[in-house]
């Protein structure tokens, strides 16, 4: 009897701790630069993200090398000249979602995340607006925001100034599933 109680206890507690955490391993992150001479876009599809609904904590991490450009030379310059991905291999966001949407109800909730955005080794505290959609226990988070190159000490040489925008538009789409402990 005691053993059953213990097993039940263990099951109950793990279940309780696990159900608030949602993870995503294939967050899609798209960057878009619009400049007089050309528009440049790249997409990364292996961003990782964790959302803790109990505390509102939200964390994102994307390998810089995962951004793929239509032109291979652009991709090389992005890694080698601008992002210095050998020194700063990841771009991250760590923060908290201010709202506490009811995840048991399907719907679309506007949310705001406040936290640290780290790009090119430089951290900026940002307030980023987004949207959280709940549908049958599946969470989808989307957001669109701008990142200024200068804020993250990304130098654009004068000669390519008309090719690369000063502010890069970032679009994020992440689909989360409830995290199960192994």
């Amino acid at each position: 009897m005691k053993y059953i109680a213990l097993i039940l206890l263990a099951w109950l507690t793990t279940n309780q701790a696990g159900q608030d955490i949602y993870t995503c391993k294939n967050a899609k992150i798209n960057l878009y630069s619009s400049a007089p001479i050309e528009d440049i876009a790249a997409t990364a599809t292996s961003g990782a993200s964790v959302y803790n609904a109990a505390t509102g904590e939200l964390a994102f991490s994307v390998p810089v090398r995962d951004f793929h450009f239509p032109k291979s030379l652009m991709e090389e310059h992005f890694n080698e000249n601008y992002m210095e991905s050998d020194k700063y291999p990841k771009a991250t966001f760590k923060g908290k979602i201010q709202e506490h949407p009811d995840l048991s109800k399907d719907g679309s909730y506007p949310v705001t995340a406040v936290g640290d955005l780290q790009v090119h080794g430089v951290t900026q505290t940002r307030t980023i607006a987004g949207n959280l959609k709940v549908s049958n226990g599946v969470l989808t988070m989307t957001s669109e925001f701008m990142v200024k190159c200068a804020d993250h000490h990304i130098d654009i040489p004068a000669i390519v100034f008309h090719h690369i925008a000063e502010s890069i538009r970032i679009r994020i789409a992440a689909t989360y599933t409830a995290y199960k402990k192994q």
Binding site: T13, I21, Y51, L58, F69, L73, H77, P89, H163, Y179
Partner: protein, 312 residues
Amino acid sequence: MKRIITVFIFLALAAGLKAQQTDTVKKGAKKETSADSLLNAMSPEDKPQDVIAAFKASRLILSPTTVTVKKNNLNFLVIHRFGDIGTSTGGARTLFGLDAINDVYIGFEYGLSDNLNIDFGRSTIGGLIELGLKYAVLHQKTDNSSPVAVTLLGQTGVRPYGQFTTFENRLSYLGQVIISRKFTSALSLQVSPVFVRDNTPIPDLPGNEQQFFSLTAAGRYKVTKGMSILVDYEHPFSSFRSGANGFSDPLGFGIEEQTGGHVFTINITNARGISEINSLSGSQASYGRGQFRLGFTISRMFDFNHKGSGYK
């Protein structure tokens, strides 16, 4: 029955208590939060990747690099070597050799795949036309599972003009193994054993060897993100190609500037020939005699993969 009920009450209480506890723990933890550690566990941590851009261009001053032109990209090259700076044909009268052009190379390199290139080029010296294949066998990896990059290069050169008894005598061959390592984001070095075979020796002098091995060594050091310093050296292992016969090992110094799709190199070398077949076989110019010259390389990359930006 009573016992079971008490156990359940206890259980429910304990579970509630436990949950509360974890909650306060989470709130208390400031930096290394549970979401953080979970994220770290999830991220594909340091999956070994190819080290990119050991060199900005497929060529330095004298030697080709391990870098290949990517698939469906075309690299267009214009390379110049001017006249002697320090001999009687140099000096201010010819604007330090700029009035005299020793060699011009116009070439194309096309990426059949990311690792396989087909090269075509034509030099002024000997009217040499070259056709080559370049293949990246091994890429340097970020985790050092492969500490170096290895690229193979094979070329056939033909001199279509001039007096030759047979067509075979117009031909030269070059085979090369290029080994490079990007030591830091700024410093890359490479060495390369080369085999050259000239069916008619270059220059065609009695006693000159038709075939010989060479070793080349080159390096680049990035001073700023766009600008690098280059050094390039070649040594043919050929008893005929000695100082006594007027030969001198090709040695070049240069500055490389990258701007978008272009790579510009300005250099000083003693070698007159741009093609390796020419520079390894017949470098009879020496710094000591004032036979060094300005040169430049313009490399322009065209990408045929996508016309637009590809943004959806």
